[in-house]
Symmetry: D2
């Protein structure tokens, strides 16, 4: 008797960068569950219809992906189990036979458009932009043979090379991008369970809401990390949502929640901030071992605690 293959959700349809990321970390027999948007992909995991979701979290040009940052913490807990980076390059693609001069309107996801806007302004300055829900959805729409180009509303799409291939489109221009080395980082998200073991090259993701009406609250929060020698690799502000000027912060730090210095910092945050959410400790994609500053190793903490225990009993000072 064999168990059923796992189902993983992602931002669909077929051919998105999310699918490319998923294929780097999913088992071969994974069942794909493409979703129309990121909240839906995450909710598939919450509702146990999927074992994991792969969603974008950060783009080197556009920054944090708000839908992911916000919906990871929107209802029942989810955690990040892995991360993967995908280079972002686009092709301009149309139905076979399309010529560049035929292109009067182009569709893609707004983030993709933002990354190609300079190229488009230079090469096809008269082209109108039609927003799409992903980089693949417009390609899929364009490929539908039953609809006229007039019905579709655009003659070309900006999508990734695999989507063009998947949907039988012809590449009108390759390597379309304002920055040639754009990257998007994706995360594998699961329901929480026992936290995995330390690998020595880990990251931990946290969501922290600052106490409001206290000058210097962000400074105080950062000191909870610095005083334990914990390095931040990402900090994104997100509105709390109830008023202008109130923030919570999505943070990545080097290290693992099973390590003492991370626990000490997190305990400090929990004591002083109204909301702290743990969003996972997982291996860094670059596998670079974390630099542990002198005096912040697990052993340093354990030796110090043992010394305090001795002090309390008058055994040693």
């Amino acid at each position: 008797m064999t168990s059923a293959p796992p189902t993983w959700s992602f931002l669909g349809p077929t051919g998105t960068f999310s699918e490319m990321a998923l294929r780097q970390v999913a088992p071969d027999d994974v069942v794909l569950a493409p979703c129309q948007d990121i909240p839906t992909a995450l909710d598939q995991v919450r509702s146990r219809r999927a074992q994991a979701a792969v969603v974008p979290i950060e783009n080197s040009v556009e920054g944090g992906v708000n839908a992911t940052l916000d919906h990871l913490v929107a209802s029942s807990p989810l955690v990040i189990a892995a991360e993967v980076a995908v280079p972002i390059t686009f092709v301009l693609a149309g139905r076979p036979g399309t010529r560049l001069e035929d292109v009067r309107a182009v569709s893609t996801h707004p983030h993709a458009w933002a990354q190609c806007r300079g190229w488009m302004g230079h090469n096809l300055p008269e082209t109108v932009y039609v927003a799409g829900t992903s980089t693949s959805a417009p390609a899929q729409a364009l490929a539908e043979t039953g609809r006229s180009l007039e019905q579709v509303g655009f003659q070309a799409v900006l999508c990734n090379p695999l989507a063009a291939q998947d949907y039988g489109l012809e590449v009108l221009a390759a390597g379309v991008a304002d920055k040639s080395d754009a990257m998007t980082r994706f995360v594998k998200v699961t329901r929480p369970g026992r936290v995995p073991e330390v690998t020595g090259a880990d990251k931990t993701t946290l969501l922290v809401q600052l106490p409001h009406n206290r000058a210097g609250a962000l400074l105080d929060m950062l000191e909870q990390f610095s005083v334990r020698g914990v390095n931040l690799t990402r900090i994104e502000s997100r509105p709390v949502g109830d008023a202008l000027g109130r923030y919570r912060f999505s943070i990545d730090v080097e290290g693992h929640i099973r390590e003492e210095r991370i626990q000490a910092a997190v305990i400090g945050l929990h004591r002083t901030c109204p909301v702290v959410r743990f969003l996972g400790s997982y291996p860094r994609l670059d596998a670079r071992p974390v630099t542990v500053v002198a005096g912040t190793s697990d052993k340093d903490f354990q030796v110090a605690r043992a010394w305090v225990a001795d002090v309390l009993e008058g055994r040693s000072l």
Copy 2:
């Protein structure tokens, strides 16, 4: 002989929240220059085709408006001259005679969709979302009498009440929003000139890029403010754009660049950060006077400087 009335650009078309904001701060005889996107609206000012632009910068639900944050500093300098907040409420509107049960697809700007997604999921769970470039553009498209609903691609839009009225649409549902008190803050942007005088209730907007590869750089940056008693009211991280994990920060602080403590903080940033951009000192929309911490008034600085001058000459210690 009279001068020509001024032209102000904004995120169009007619009926957007941007236009609503503009009308709060523009002269009565302003010539409206609606633009298809935020970068275009800002470039109208840079190219002197408009005297000012009004663009959204921050939403209480969705956070910073990336297009504004990034394009304010994308090329030649612009500064913020004023700010204004607009409450965000949507109506669901369709062509006259449309019934709720006819609505299978709805279009609006992605930020608007994000703010109504819960309401839509609850009231019209089967409805498909079609992304638009503003909250008014889909209303304008729906109002075009020459196109069939099939050609338009959606039967209803989420727009502000004025847009529904301007474009002759019928309101199917009013007060559509997941959070009833959502606000968007807009800014009036101009070309830089002599900085205006202090009002005592001012804000200053800065863009600061951190030195990379230095642990604690964000903490150091915040200390440049705290050591002079300067309070931050907003901080938004934005990617530098060249690699994952590198940030610059868009910051609002209480106070005016003509005040000593702000100058001292800004000089500290300029000394230690690779990029500092000044984006304007302007009156706060709440007109609440800035609290000046003891020891940080202009007079405190002037007295201290005079004392140092005396010390250098041996006149007093």
Copy 3:
């Protein structure tokens, strides 16, 4: 069968301020062991010849008492078990029959001289100062009937009123002091044992040596306290002794080593500083309850630790 009464050492001879302090905290049947200097008094406790020592640690005019600060940590551990403050007022006293105009030389302890120097300069400007090893020793010497005034070397002493009485001297002037409200704080010192329970109005004394050759080491050390909301009430620099410019710090903080925030701070110091010595948690002499900043109570720590334990097991986030 009864146990022998305890022996307490102090800076002698009879009549010193140290004896006055001792009598405030010692049992009635205490056996007095006056010592010629502070190191000797402390060593009496180390060698078990005394159960406790009472020594001065801080004067409001002269500052820290170096002999106490240094010798508390000079060899085997000692801890502070209590503190007591004594108002410091002096009398100028001589052999019966002495007149003010007879006084050409005065003797007392250098600290006492420092506190009376202004008064002496104003009232007896021609008088020579002869250093003594305590405020009582010169009184004792002056009282020795077998020695001529010429042999003694001075005609009057500055001592406390009880010493003048004890040694049969006549008060030539009372209330001698440059500052009328000078205080000296004394500590009761014992061998270490199980640390006593929290009273809620406790102090903890520590000795911390900074890592050298690291700019900002003092700032880092202080942050170990501030990040846990621990308030310092005293900080005294003392040379390490091996070179100019190297320091260790004697520190009093509000709170008890059995409290979580103090333990966390002390663990942080132990991790990052080459030397940390615990010198006792004991009731404050003013019995004023310690103010515990929000987020730093024992319960705050325990709740946060329980939350981390849940996180590790995937029980809650």
Copy 4:
């Protein structure tokens, strides 16, 4: 017509370490003005009876010299113009013909005794200590031929080798010291005048009193230095004198008051602390050039200020 040679005061009598220090920095034709104590030596300069005073400020074993730290700021301003370090080694000396076994009492200055106490305890454990006002005064007293040893009250002194020679005493033991490499740092003190020019290897001495009743005041004070990259080389706490637990700090920093970063730090202190006293900028005795952290050079400040001036006029952002 020639000007009269200058008079310099110092802690006398002849043969003290202060005189040794003075001779390293005074002109050859200096007129020596030995004083009975440090306050007197400093007051000679205030009253224009001396052009300069040379006094000890810090000892590597005993720490700061309180009399100097306190009296430098006790009345009208004085400044430090130079510093010099003297190795501290003692000889045990007596009248010619004295044998070690004759020595039952020894006199010297209490600081000197503190540095030789271990040696004495080991070699002459039965010897009584008689306090002296300097290391030379007891030598001078012992050398007075008109007094019997009984009248003097001791048979030997701990003084520096020159004093033994000056007063015709015989060395009973040389190299007497618990730490063989003890150093004392002396300063040349003058009335304030125009501050000298920067040498690039300068120190600045300040006295700063903290605002009381403000938790973290010391941390805030240190940040005024750290935020401008200014390194502290010495910090000594001194009581304010009016109550237990109130401090001012004597501080040495690397750099010169004519340098921008030092001025900025000092202005910050002046704004936020109730008392700041400037005590001189002068060449370091080790002549090691000051390390200027990136972003804190005079040019960095000037460029930043020029940029702010441009910003105010709209010339550049």
